[in-house]
């Protein structure tokens, strides 16, 4: 069927486009924002021993019913009205499966959604991390009313960023110049964390 072939071609072209994890982070978080989430938890859990990277985005938005949940992986399913294609989840599924991993999505209507993708970091097709600091900063700065909790855990060490904590410390998210401070803050902390990564890992 023509449409199916078209999907194949489109997804193939996109293979070179969703180049890193940071882009997925932004993309899936946008889904949560569209679902009117007030709390978004983004977690990366990297275990060098078993060579697994688990990327998880949870939110307390509108959630999905069973039918919607089943059609998530179909690129021609979308809740938006501006076009008929929704590529966020299919691309995530593709990039994690190409490393030998898998995607799971749990959702309950009215409660929220959790999207979890597992990547095998010992596979050379594993995506690089990309500019997590940049994307996360943009996400926080553009949505100052949403509580975003970001965690990066590498083996037994972790870096946490909680926008509520920033507010408690009276760090003003709306003040000009904040992105220029927040991005290096995140980047420095992540750099220190990644120092502990095993050399054999394909993740970078």
């Amino acid at each position: 069927m023509k449409w199916r072939r078209l999907t194949g071609i489109v997804l193939n072209r996109c293979l070179n486009i969703m180049v890193d994890m940071a882009m997925h982070l932004m993309d899936i978080s946008q889904n949560s924002i569209r679902a009117d989430a007030k709390n978004i938890q983004i977690a990366f859990n990297e275990d060098c021993e078993s060579s697994r990277l688990t990327f998880r985005v949870g939110d307390d938005g509108n959630g999905m019913n069973e039918e919607e949940l089943r059609s998530l992986e179909d690129p021609f399913f979308t809740t938006r009205t501006t076009r008929k294609v929704g590529l966020g989840i299919p691309l995530l599924k593709m990039t994690c499966e190409q490393t030998g991993g898998f995607l799971t999505v749990e959702s309950e209507a009215g409660k929220g959604t959790i999207v979890q993708a597992v990547y095998c970091t010992d596979n050379p097709d594993c995506l690089p991390l990309g500019d997590i600091a940049g994307y996360l900063t943009m996400l926080i700065v553009a949505n100052p009313d949403i509580r975003i909790k970001f965690t990066y855990r590498l083996n037994d060490k972790e870096f946490k960023l909680d926008t509520d904590e920033l507010k408690e410390q009276e760090i003003d998210l709306r003040q000009s110049g904040l992105p220029g401070l927040l991005k290096p803050f995140i980047a420095e902390n992540l750099k220190e964390l990644f120092f502990h990564r095993a050399e054999k890992s394909f993740l970078c």
Binding site: I33, M138, L139, Q169, L181
Partner: protein, 131 residues
Amino acid sequence: MSEIKTLADLKKKQEEMRNRIKLRDSAENPEAFVQVKVAMATCGIASGAKEVMEYFVEELDKRSIRSIVTQTGCMGYCYAEPTVEITLPGKDPIVLGYVNTVRAEEIIEHYIKDGELVDGIIPQNYNTIKS
């Protein structure tokens, strides 16, 4: 620039910055701000909208233009990504396509500062703009 490692560092840096900036936008009407919305759906992200957004945030700040830069979802112009919607105070929003950092510079210099229309506008409606 010294390193910012802890939240206390971040807070200190922000306070230093606050003392350097003149007091502005205390109880401002949001309509007086320039609103810039960058499309951040899969199509946008894949074509580099994050660089465009970072550019707008930084440059508008450097030039002290009162603005709010946010993200939206797909506006339907996937063929022209990255797209931005700019609403100048008191004017209708316009959507611009094929925006990269060079064109963002043009947009800030010409449209945001002077109100002069630039290339790459995606028509929303077909009314003539009366200036």
